[in-house]
Amino acid sequence: MSKILVVAEVSGAKLKKTTLSAIGFARAAGLPFDVLVLGQGVGAAAEELRAYGAGAVKVADGAALANYVGETFAPTVSEAAKGYSVVVVTASSFGKDLAPRVAARLGAGFASDIAGVENAGGALSYKRPMYAGNALATMQITTPVQVVSVRQSEFEAAAPSGGSSPVEAVAVAPAPLAGRVEFVSFDEVKSARPELAEAKVVVSGGRSLKSAEGFKTVLEPLVDVMGAAMGASRAAVDAGYVPNDLQVGQTGKVVAPKLYIAVGISGAIQHIAGMKNSKVIVAINKDPEAPIFQLADYGLVADLYKAVPELTEAVKKIRAEG
């Protein structure tokens, strides 16, 4: 009987929501699954995971796993994966780093960043976007064990299903490379705003904001009154206006919120790849020919320095009226 091992993601021992998309994959595949959570002091995360209908919640807890390093996590995941036919992890930066390593260790085929799964009588096939989302491929893995990473925006976060899965401890496997790769630091960008990949509304800014100050004074008031996550184009990130992990796009984060507002973003292919599955897209750009207008549901040709404060005020008023 095929069985899936879902690898959970934690940050600072706290369960990350990304995990719920990997569980969503297991449910979509219609196969029984266990969850593996790795880290140090992850008891509470394991406890939380008991409510999702897993056959078991497996816990690898140890000081060696205090911080994510591929070389220390991959051996433990690979050991724990023995007996499973599919190993799945969400394609966050954690999953993108980990999944191919696990595939290599298991001699398994790998499907990266998939957007869909089909189970035809036990044979799984995967849909995955390629060419910046301009092609959708259907693929199969030919090895007995399969490793997949799933696109968070394409797999609904699983809701708790009740029940209380048993918790089982699993061993932390030796990591022969641990002596040659050392965790130095994690410089965390703290933000009180919702996470990009999880937000219902995303407001993104481009090069046209011109500075960190521009983001702060022009864009952020709109972001905050909307209760939105903030995103950016590569140009804005490269210029240092906002932190790197706010980049939306083919090679940044892929988002699909209910509402995406692109402010002063031209709509390059690489940017569009990261937001075109948003439900409603709004574009504000002073160039009527900007490619972003080709996919925006509502386009406003205007100077952002005038339009954005106006929009912020209008939303504020609506919020005040309740």
Binding site: G70, S93, R101, V184, L259, Q270
Partner: protein, 278 residues
């Protein structure tokens, strides 16, 4: 120090929306799109050059060497040549077509190249912008059992060239790892920022121009005399069975453009009453 950079020939990524699906869904057609080096691989070349040169004087240590390797059609020699014009020393081209490769096979073939070339570092792009898989570097590191750091936005090579501290772009911030060489590094976009690479040879005050370097004519001419060795991929002796196979391709559902609104008031009204998102 010896650095190996793998480079993939890809269809012009800035026009990826012009690809077509051919043969009833069996194939992605890229006819008409100019083949270019995968941009991340170009950044890997740039980052590698910054590791082995004095950025200010462009002088290089005698023993230092940058080899560029590609798996692809004969025409990929053009793309290797371009990397040699940037400053690479020599190239290797293992002839193969895309359909007979997957990330796993490329990684296994690369592991063989590493055994032969014995580099101190393999620097790769984090992903190829056609397949978008983001896998080869990670698989290679496991096969070689070398320490590795993916999604590098900074690399600081120690003065004795025995270790490197790599800043990784991850969700929520930057993770720094210290690797003992030999090692595998995959690079992200910001690796080509002015001060992303530190090698203790380039003066700390020096700023590189943003991005991969332009290749002036004399470098292009010089690159014509640099060696590129061609061989069939089979010569590497990797067993060819693929671990994944693509059954079919389709265009994603197209998104219809919407309407232009005349002002903020109309936008707000539409978002409230029509889209119901405000």
């Amino acid at each position: 120090m010896k650095i190996l950079v793998p480079l993939k020939r890809t269809a012009d990524p800035d026009n990826a929306n012009k690809i077509k699906i051919g043969a009833g869904g069996a194939k992605i057609e890229t006819t008409g799109l100019e083949p270019k080096a995968n941009p991340f691989d170009e950044y890997a070349v740039e980052a590698s050059l910054r590791l082995i040169e004095n950025g200010q004087t462009k002088a290089r240590n005698a023993g230092d060497k940058l080899t560029v390797v590609s798996f692809g059609p004969k025409e990929a020699a053009t793309n290797i040549r371009q990397a040699l014009a940037m400053g690479g020393d020599d190239g290797l081209l293992f002839l193969s077509d895309d359909e007979s490769l997957d990330g796993d096979l490329v990684a296994r073939a690369l592991a063989r190249v590493v055994e032969q070339q014995k580099p101190d570092l393999v620097v790769l792009g984090k992903q190829a912008v056609d397949g978008d898989s983001n896998q080869v570097g990670q698989i290679l590191a496991e096969l070689l059992q070398w320490p590795s750091a993916t999604f590098a936005m900074s690399i600081e090579l120690s003065a004795d060239k025995k270790t490197a501290i790599v800043g990784r772009e991850v969700d929520g911030g930057v993770i720094k790892l210290k690797l003992t060489l030999p090692a595998v590094i995959t690079v992200d976009l910001r690796i080509v920022a002015p001060k992303s690479v530190v090698n203790h040879v380039t003066p700390a005050t020096f700023n590189y121009p943003e991005g991969a370097r332009f290749t002036p004519l004399p470098m292009i001419i010089k690159a014509k005399t640099k060696p590129i060795v061609e061989a069939p991929i089979a010569s590497l002796g990797v067993e060819g069975a693929l671990k994944s196979k693509y059954a079919s391709f389709a265009l994603p559902p197209a998104r219809k453009g919407g309407v232009k609104v005349k002002d903020v008031a109309e936008l707000v009204q539409k978002l409230r009453t029509e889209a119901k998102v405000l």
